[in-house]
């Protein structure tokens, strides 16, 4: 025999190898089918983009949306052809409730809860029975924690200024008001007769009224961010409420030099005195918080901010933008470029951007003795086959109760202290102990700064936490703080002290 035939292997063996390869390939297909059909199926089938959800929305009478007192915020109407369309209580709720339009899609809770409103995705058993049932759909009414009166008051308080207000119960995470201004007429989008004109006008509007600023707007925080720094500094053990900084006392009119960058105070109160955290919070000392931030370190600051919800979209009933302490492009711990960025971030002027909802959660966490509750709007789903209550959910403990109470005290001084009162005039709720922090976010260049306030009341047994942002409106203490005080006062009027 010649050598050419000796080493030639029979074809059968290679065919076995091919069979093995094909089996592996088909195994991968089976895995993929299991992944899409079972693992991520619950998520996909309740998505507003799901064909079954869209198809059901067109034929089924969608559930209503009600505020916490049962007031109807969204209901169904029929046009002259008998076709269904949606109608909404008031423009004030548009940024929360959203709209549902056959032509222009959906937004807000109408979008996020499209599957439930159309009567799909109620629970696995019902989904299984739907295959056999006569009427397959059980549209759910959404019961919200929102208070219609408070929501309208918040929109009125913003007036013709752009901005956002978020009010929530710090112990349960229930959102009582979530206003974004300017708002829009959701009924006009849903009504087929006016939909096209309204939608075109809204899309061209330079003020962007379709943007829910409370959840998707990202703003420079200014001094309200000092509360995040305080949480990180105390929580990491970098400082105590009694810690003072010699460098802060020695910084004169020229401020503090960090790596050649000069940090200044916004005023000349208590110049030359070494301040503790409560004192520094009362007069909103930039230098104290810059030093506290440097002492805490970038890694701790980003870590504690992350525990508060920074760095990722918040778990919420509506889509939210992620808030950030830094853009993370630097090499220093936490992603800061250098100590200058860290020092600036510590008092809210670095590469820091936050949503109003995130800042409300910061206030809420301090108020709730350091425990962050999951923010939520929908408290119950009410269908023909029964009601499903959605209870409070604790996300995590951010700092110890002792540390939280130290910050509560500091924030109370910022509102009620002799000097604090000068900064945050109007934040105090008459007859109720009030804590808070104002912020004036410098944006560089000309133009007014963003005006911020976060706070809560009563200090000992907090029942309401608030964040107020007014775009380019001036000093936080002058604009946002009085809005915050008035709205909290309004809350106590309605719900009793």
């Amino acid at each position: 025999m010649l050598s050419t035939t000796r080493t030639r292997r029979p074809i059968g063996i290679t065919i076995t190898h091919i069979a093995l390869a094909i089996a592996i390939g088909f195994g991968a297909l089976a895995g993929a089918a299991g992944y899409w059909g079972v693992v991520v199926a619950p998520e996909l089938t309740r998505s507003p983009n799901d064909a079954a959800v869209i198809a059901a929305s067109r034929t089924v009478e969608r559930g209503e949306i009600l505020d916490r007192n049962g007031r109807v915020l969204a209901r169904n109407e029929r046009d002259e052809n008998g076709e269904l369309y949606r109608s909404y209580a008031n423009q004030a709720v548009s940024q929360v409730v959203g709209y549902y339009s056959r032509r222009f899609g959906s937004a807000g809770l109408e979008r996020a809860y499209s599957a439930e409103l159309a009567g799909l995705a109620t629970d696995p058993l019902a989904d299984a029975l739907r295959k056999f049932g006569g009427n397959p759909y059980d549209p759910q009414d959404l019961r919200l924690s929102l208070d219609y009166g408070l929501q309208r008051a918040a929109i009125r308080a913003l007036g013709d200024q752009k901005g956002a207000v978020v009010m929530l119960d710090p112990t349960t995470g229930e959102v009582l008001a979530m206003a974004s201004n300017p708002t829009y007429d959701a009924s006009a989008i849903a009504d087929p007769r006016t939909a096209e004109k309204t939608f075109a006008a809204l899309q061209d509007d330079p003020d962007n009224p379709l943007l829910p600023r409370a959840t998707l707007g990202r703003y420079v925080p200014g001094s309200v961010f000092k509360i995040v720094t305080a949480i990180a500094a105390l929580g990491s053990g970098a400082i105590t409420p009694e810690t003072t900084f010699r460098e802060q006392a020695e910084a004169g009119d020229d401020g503090l030099l960090v790596n050649g960058f000069r940090i200044r105070e916004g005023h000349s109160l208590r110049r030359g005195q070494a301040l503790t955290l409560p004192q520094a919070t009362e007069i909103s000392s930039n230098i104290f918080y810059a030093l506290a931030g440097l002492e805490t370190g970038g890694a701790n600051l980003v870590d504690f901010a992350g525990r508060l919800g920074f760095g990722a979209p918040l778990p919420f009933d509506l889509p939210t933008a992620a808030s950030q302490v830094t853009n993370g492009r630097g090499e220093d711990p936490g992603g800061f470029v250098d100590d200058v960025e860290l020092a600036n971030a510590a008092y809210g002027q670095g590469e820091t951007f936050v949503t109003p909802l995130q800042m409300a959660l910061v206030a809420s966490t301090v108020a709730n003795d350091g425990v962050l509750m999951k923010p939520r709007l929908v408290t119950a789903l009410e269908g023909k086959r029964g009601t499903r209550e959605l209870g409070p959910e604790e996300l995590r403990r951010v700092i110890s109760a002792d540390d939280a109470q130290a910050i509560q005290g500091a924030m109370r001084r910022a509102v009620e202290g002799d000097l604090g009162r000068q900064f945050t005039s109007g934040a105090k709720v008459p007859g109720v102990s009030t804590a808070g922090k104002s912020g004036t976010a410098e944006l560089g260049g000309s133009g007014e700064p963003h005006s911020w306030f976060i706070g809560f009341a009563p200090v000992n047994q907090p029942r309401i936490a608030i964040a107020v942002l007014v775009e380019r409106a001036g000093r936080g203490g002058a604009v946002a703080a009085p809005i915050g005080g008035n709205l909290m006062a309004r809350y106590f009027e309605e719900f009793g002290q």
């Binding site: 094909i22 993929a32 295959k131």
Partner: protein, 486 residues
């Protein structure tokens, strides 16, 4: 076929009736009965779902509600399967008994699916057939007829073996015709229209490719295996023998560019590489080929926008769920709605504005439709049936009498298997979506007829009792070597 039958001289044609020696095929019969039961139950379920819809106002206790959706069509189809069985029994060949029931099951699923989809997805009918379900039934019957006829009649492979370069030339001519005269449908140049006939030549091309490769590789196998050209550390077969491989690579990429048909290119190149491996057992060739294909595709993706877009959609269809990623996202949602057990035949595929939301569901996404209505279990079942068909084909290849038959059977099995894999993977976002059909299930005449031909050839090859292969031809090299040997 017995030994005595072969030893006698071939009888004259008029005595053909005297040749009939029926040979029972009990396994095939049992499997076909099983297929028939499954299809009748499935069709009854579909009928009850359609008639029992709330707006139809039917009484579910009325027995007529539970009849199959289209009794006549189902009866004709099952009748055709049993007729194919009977014809093979009469022919008396010892051919494979699993292929026909497996293909019959897939075709039956296809029939139910096409009956269930909106009937106006196809335009004109023919032979008195109207609408998707009836037209597909006609193609299915023709496909079964082709498979059976080829499986019974073909007893010699010399017409395939001897003219491999003729076949290759015909294939390239067909390809060039499509490149030049093909009409663009949906951005792809796949369809060739000649007078009243239109078809997708790439379906036929894949069979021609397998025939050519089987001939070429079996003839040059020894050389490809044993002789090396050293290129630094890399060992390659002799340079002249790399030319056809480079040509294959160029043709595959040409199909991607000119026809915009990534699926056919993947199919051709995948079959080519696997057959090359079967013949040579050189994994380095397969890896090298894959690298060359992906490098070529990567270059093309940067040069041609539509290829880059395809790949971007594949990586993240959810980035643009209502635009570029729409098809794939709709497909994935369909699998999700189906879940483990499915919505039931006729119960899924929600319509929006009078249309099924998955575009081209009857040609490109039948697996997604089955995933929604039959669930994960149904998808696994369908994939399992393809595995059975592949396994039978590979088994026929492994047991074949010589290299040519072995490679031919392997290639035919792979053509069906890899095509099913590519489109299923496209539906499931495992591979970029391509426009190849799901064999025996997708709507379409070209696909069904050619896949029927593939099954027919596999049946014919599975009969070991026929004409033995010719003795291996001595290559010139062998003869020279032998002359020099002592």
């Amino acid at each position: 076929m017995t030994a005595s039958a072969r030893s006698r001289p071939a009888p004259a044609l008029p005595r053909i009736l005297g040749q009939i020696r029926p040979r029972p095929r009990w396994l095939e019969l049992r499997l076909l009965v099983l297929v028939a039961i499954v299809l009748v139950v499935g069709s009854a379920s579909l009928g009850a779902t359609v008639r029992g819809r709330p707006d139809a106002g039917a009484d579910l206790f009325d027995p007529s509600v539970w009849l199959p959706l289209d009794v006549t069509a189902l009866a004709i189809y099952l009748g055709a399967l049993f007729a194919a069985h009977a014809a093979q029994v009469l022919a008396g060949r010892r051919t494979d008994q699993v292929l026909l029931p497996a293909v019959g099951m897939l075709g039956g699923i296809s029939l139910l699916l096409m009956q269930r989809l909106p009937q106006d997805l196809v335009g004109s009918g023919f032979f008195g057939a109207e609408g998707l379900g009836q037209v597909q039934l006609v193609w299915l019957l023709l496909s079964v007829a082709v498979a059976t006829t080829v499986g019974i009649v073909v007893r010699s492979d010399s017409w395939l073996r001897q003219y491999k370069y003729t076949w290759a030339a015909a294939g390239i001519a067909l390809l060039l015709l499509t490149f030049v005269f093909g009409s663009d449908v949906g951005g792809q140049r796949l369809t060739l229209v000649i007078g009243p006939f239109s078809g997708q030549p790439s379906e036929l091309l894949k069979v021609i490719l397998v025939i050519f490769l089987a001939g070429y590789l079996s003839e040059n196998r020894a050389l490809l295996v044993e002789q090396d050209t050293r290129l630094g550390p890399i060992r390659l077969p002799p340079i002249p023998y790399l030319v056809p491989m480079a040509a294959m690579w160029a043709i595959a990429l040409g199909i991607v560019v000119v026809q915009r048909d990534l699926g056919a290119a993947l199919l051709f190149f995948g079959v080519f590489l696997l057959l090359l491996y079967a013949a040579t057992a050189r994994i380095s060739l397969v890896i090298g080929g894959l690298i060359a294909f992906f490098l070529g595709s990567a270059v093309l993706a940067t040069l041609f926008e539509h290829i880059g877009t395809r790949i971007a959609i594949w990586l993240d269809p959810f980035a643009d769920p209502l635009g570029a990623g729409y098809q794939v996202v709709q497909s994935l949602h369909a699998f999700a709605r189906g879940g483990l057990l499915g919505m039931g035949l006729g119960n899924g595929l929600p319509m929006i504005g009078g249309r099924v939301t998955i575009p081209e569901v009857h040609t490109d996404f039948p697996l997604a439709a089955l995933g929604e209505e039959l669930g994960l279990i149904g998808v696994l079942g369908v994939l399992g049936i393809y595995l059975v068909i592949i396994e039978r084909g590979l088994r026929i290849g492994a047991a074949a009498a010589d290299d040519f038959r072995s490679l031919l059977a392997t290639g035919l099995a792979l053509v069906v298997g890899i095509q099913a894999f590519i489109i299923a993977a496209g539906n499931l976002k495992v591979l970029p979506l391509t426009g190849v059909t799901l064999p025996f299930i997708s709507y379409g005449g070209s696909s069904l007829l050619v896949n029927g031909l593939v099954i027919g050839l596999l049946l014919a090859l599975s009969d070991k009792g026929v004409e033995p292969p010719p003795p291996p031809r001595k290559r010139r090299l062998d003869r020279i070597l032998r002359r020099g040997a002592p």
